[in-house]
Symmetry: C2
């Protein structure tokens, strides 16, 4: 196990009806907020009305900014920064999924930076502070509800970039699984693929003696594998929805990766697909990951054998490590296609191979990617090609 | 899964050499501290010199209070409160195991209470605030390094009582596994028994659909079962010591119990043994737990069967649930006796049955105990008697 710092300052309120606490929790931080949401499902489901009623009851003023889209753009971040400055708002309340949360975080940091907030994502500047961000989560996927990460796209430059800052942890996150009952099957599946990807990224490493982290990773993966198909089949299954929601948070709050070095190459490779073709992040991950695994498994076939056995219940008796590894990777692909019912190739999303070289260059723009295996440009091209 | 609030504000610095950061971390909170320690091993191992050197380098002033003993007494808490008040110290730095940490927490809350700090433990008052507490941990056991619990004894009234307050989380905890290399085999074993007990207390519940929590509990138990005998055999095995240290923290920081109701009856039953006979907490737990399990397993034999299979690798084929449950409980007792090499009966610690009735009354002093099974007075007496 390597040295690490673990810090998880976000206060989590989890469970049925927790959304009713949003007014009280917000008021404990600030008396007026930028209320950020997508403007779509939040209004249709009545959640918007529930939340604004609780804010009003508690005397919390709010200015709204809606229209956050999947793969959220830097443009709406800029708008949010302007509003917060003009109206001197001391807090952002984000109601939605990862896109809304990430936008809220970028706004919260942008307020304290005189330049263009894209500078953070282009590695030209780092957040020096941030407004507090409160969260009401409506989609189990990104883990943004309890970490310091945000990912923003730039539609002009066709880039999608992540940053981390210790200032970007939400102060509280309300995780009410009932709010995800209305998430449609495909989005539920993409969310599950996103959660699984976060675990893969922390599970495949060469660190020794990480029995606690390994067991935690395997537990989370098994829970998602068990519960995602149930949530797709029965959207109002509280038990399945709550397992997915808690797994989403624990997959990326720093816990399961503490003590080892994760490999985030697949995320970078996927971000290119989202940036260039606008596909859902989880969809892109389901396409990229089996291909990445096939590219790298030889670096540690025993690790992939364990993955096949402990996570996917593959009967590996009589198999070599390599064969067991490949059987595990097949299980991943089969699960996405047959149980989550989502595409597993670029072709499934009508993406051809014309931009592969451009995407490979962009994925490596800031540095070489990959730590389980550090990827060459050729490796990245091969991963895209195998995923076609 | 039930509703819950999860909050884990303690910043954890984990790993080799992290103790070197104590000066910097302390200075980020306060410029002078009450330095609290046992006065024994901390000085012998040179840790005292390392820490005070780092404090001096960072210009952090300190007043010392040493002499904290196992099952720490309210008397030293009173002394600490007086010192903090007289010297207007804004922080407590605790260097040691659970006893030192718990004492530090009680002092930190006592400073803001005009009455006697025993009132907290006698349920006559609640902490209204607390000084920040920093931690350098030297023993993997209680989990006090990342929670809001403290347990203090009163040698005059022969009581040992726990409290929880949200003000009592350490602001930072330095977990450097090398600092536990000098922990002798028996203390290592008692610490392991304490960690396991915390997991049992959160694993045995009747809540359904807690797959994540169950998997996390089983992971922690398996890791302790694997690593404690190694640490006893080879005290300087970094890998084993680090697994125990991280397990100690995760077993009682609120994570694995989130979403279910724990059963802390065994802790209360043990506290009486410590209060009346001064035995180590972990030693008492190793005595009490198998007896508690035998008393309650019929409330959910299937749960105990799972425990036998997933945690203790008992081959339960062909066994009824009840038989499998009993085989698991035997495995617990065998592990304590044969692998941890510690006593498993009151007799092993020269404790006779004369105070059983008194202890049963005291264990239930504030309320009925137990939630997996709510225990009657007769049940508690039976648990003590079976443990003789």
């Amino acid at each position: 196990m390597r040295n690490f710092v673990f810090n998880s300052p976000t206060r989590i309120l989890f469970g049925k009806g927790q959304v009713e606490n949003v007014g009280k929790e917000t008021l404990a931080v600030a008396g007026k907020v930028l209320l950020l949401h997508s403007g779509g499902s939040v209004k249709q489901t009545g959640l918007y009305d529930r939340i604004t009623a609780r804010l009003r009851e508690n005397g919390v003023g709010f200015t709204e900014l809606s229209g956050v889209k999947p793969n959220p753009d830097i443009d709406i971040v800029r708008q949010g920064v302007s509003i917060c400055r003009n109206e001197v708002l001391p807090m952002v309340l984000a109601v939605g999924g990862g896109s809304v949360l990430d936008t809220a975080k970028a706004i919260s940091a942008g307020v304290f930076y005189e330049g263009d907030p894209w500078d953070f994502f282009d590695k030209k500047a780092q957040p020096a502070s941030a407004l507090p961000v409160g969260v009401v989560l409506t989609l189990s996927a990104t883990g943004s509800e309890a970490n310091g990460n945000t990912v923003i796209s730039n539609s002009q430059t066709k880039e999608k970039r992540p940053i981390y800052s210790p200032f970007l942890y939400p102060c509280f996150s309300i995780l009410d699984p009932e709010l995800t009952f209305t998430v449609p099957p495909d989005q539920t599946a993409y969310g599950a693929a996103d959660i699984l990807s976060h675990v893969y990224e922390q599970y495949f490493h060469h660190e020794k003696e990480t029995s606690i982290q390994d067991g935690f990773c395997e537990t989370l993966m098994r829970s998602v594998i068990e519960n995602a198909p149930i949530a797709i089949e029965r959207p109002s299954d509280y038990s399945a929805r709550s397992a997915l929601m808690w797994a989403s948070t624990l997959a990326l709050n720093g816990l399961i990766g503490a003590g080892a070095v994760g490999d985030w190459a697949s995320h970078m490779i996927e971000h290119e697909l989202s940036a260039h073709y606008g596909i859902a992040h989880g969809a892109g991950l389901a396409v990229v990951f089996p291909s990445w695994m096939t590219q790298v498994y030889k670096a540690n076939p025993a690790r992939f054998r364990r993955f096949a056995e402990k996570v996917w219940d593959v009967d590996t008796r009589g198999m070599t490590d390599e064969k067991a590894a490949l059987a595990g990777i097949s299980a991943v692909r089969d699960f996405y296609r047959d149980r989550l019912k989502i595409g597993v190739t670029m072709k499934d999303y009508a993406i051809d191979g014309t931009k592969i070289e451009t995407m490979a260059d962009s994925a490596m723009k800031f540095r070489a990617i990959g730590s389980f295996v550090q990827l060459t440009r050729d490796d990245i091209v091969a991963i895209y090609k195998r995923a076609m």
